[in-house]
Amino acid sequence: MANRVYNILFHTHTISGIIISAALYVIFFTGSITFLRDEINAWERNEPIREHYFKAINFDKALEVLAKDRRLYGRDLSFSHRYFEKRVGVSMTRSKDTTIQEPSGRGRRGNFFYMNMDTFEKKDYGSNYSLGEFFYRLHFFAQLNLFGRSGYFLAGLVAFFFLFAVLTGVIVHWKKIISSFYVFRPKAKWKTIWTDAHVALGMIGLPYQFMFAVTGAYLIIGYTVMLPPVQSLMFDDNPKKLQEAAQYEAPDDYPFKGENLEKEVSINQFMHQTTEKWPELQQHQLQIFNYGDKNMHIKVSGSPSFDDKLLGTGYLVFRAKDGTIIREKDPYSRTSYAEGATDLLKRLHFGDFGGYGMKLIYFALGLITCFVILSGVLIWLVARDRKNLPEHKRNFNTWLVRIYMAICLSLYPITAIIFVVVKLFADNYGDGRRDFIYNVFFWGWLLLSALFILKRNNHFTNKFSLLLGAILGIFVPISNGIVTGNWPWVAWQKGYSQIFVVDIFWLLLSTIALLVFFKLRKPKESSRAKKSSKAKLEISTN
């Protein structure tokens, strides 16, 4: 490769990397935690779930409960099991019978809630808020949606520039891609260590990182950034037309008759029929159209388990009045390109194709990526720590890296803190769960970062956040054991695998963090800034 191209791309890699680094670190760290989203929620609420939960739900009873506080006639209802939790998302439209007057003020939000399908207890979004939801939303900066969707947009741009940095990184590294992979010189100077680690781990994580850059950008800004020009130029700027054109399946359209269905229908019966037809199908959605009307229809959808078939979904649509199947899509038949692409991008991003073993590998690779990001930042610092650079530039670099390190590394202890605090106290906050989590997490994070920045010592930041995170992490299973009695061994015996996984995850993380903590050596080349601060200290004490 020509020297010119090498240096240009190297520079673009450096600049794009340093700009996105801290944000990308937060995305990868919280995103890695989110692999356990459903498990964390089961742990937090002490609601472990059974296998094949959705197909065993008594929907007739659920509808009976729902009918207590509002008339269901003429509505479309849906029960969606998007996350593997006991609380299923329920939404309903207004009645299509215009003679039924509904109290005003019941907007879209009033018609969406969660229902625990064991107890049929309802929760709105606020009182259902959870740690899993918090980390999930933090990993695409939903909390920064201060102006429209600014947070999503920021996360998307970070993902896109991450893709750019991955591509330029590979090109820059191309010539030595094999030889450098085997090079690791842990006894050398810091610049060499950071470079070797950045290169080797970046190489190991390359397919994973490339995949996340693409799927991440797709999921968060694929629609909002890529489609507007297409919509305005090819679909007369009509969002509805675009949406219809993008659908790979005919929409459900069952006109409302306006006459009562003079017959009792059992929804469970249709669920059961679907289970008999496809016993291994993981049902995840039940839709009811025109409830109680002559033209009432029931749609049961699901997708194959990943070991049966990776892509595709299927469904059955029943007509209520005579129970016949009027539409069918076989989930095990051929999957179209558009549907397959959509499913694959999701499966890959969520690590949802190989059980806990795969999630563990994903989590490890996620932390490795965090390390690649931080080692890149440290290369930036040590490579610029030279005498011929003007003082103000060197100061800027030192401070930049110090702040980055403080923000990034304090995430581990604050995450452990929020788990313990939520387990011990969040149940007292009812509807205010979200504010409670926000207050503890964001103020705590700010405080820790500020302390580390004031301490002005990256080595200390690293060491102390590891130790703090490890100790607090041990308190995660302890707090759970005290509050619920489901100590890891109890959870294991009772078969509460979700709760067990979260506890063991924290114990494992603490063990590793402690091992690393005791192995850490003091940096031989103490940073320049430290020297100067020591020098200042000496002057002041003299």
Binding site: N3, R4, V5, Y6, N7, I8, L9, F10, H11, T12, T14, F160, L163, F164, L167, T168, I171, K191, T195, A213, V214, T215, A217, Y218, G222, Y223, M226, L227, P229, V230, L233, M234, L242, A245, A246, Q247, Y248, S336, Y337, A338, A341, T342, L345, I379, A383, R384
Partner: protein, 92 residues
């Protein structure tokens, strides 16, 4: 170890042109390419392709813009390619 400055674009004007060629011009060309795809292929397939492959193409076009010697030229190339695609879309 930082990149050798000798090879980097010095003129801020040229830099601006190259960055905009990659970021804006690359985006325009990506969109045009997929709109042409939309004409020949079936709609849902082309739309989903734009939503994920679009980012890869856009990032690649950004890299080419940075490698160009002259920012104006690369803007020209991207606009010309867009014009050709627009013509194809118009004709079909």
């Amino acid at each position: 170890m930082p990149a050798n400055k000798k090879y980097l674009t010095k003129s801020p004007w040229q830099r601006l042109i190259k960055i905009s060629a990659g970021f804006v011009g690359g985006y325009i060309l990506t969109e045009a390419f997929h709109m042409a795809l939309l004409q020949w292929w079936n709609t849902p397939d082309a739309l989903i392709t734009l939503r994920f492959f679009g980012f890869i193409l856009w990032a690649t076009l950004m890299i080419f813009a940075f490698m160009a010697k002259n920012g104006i030229k690369i803007w020209g190339v991207y606009l010309l390619a867009t014009a050709v695609l627009a013509l194809l879309i118009y004709l079909t």
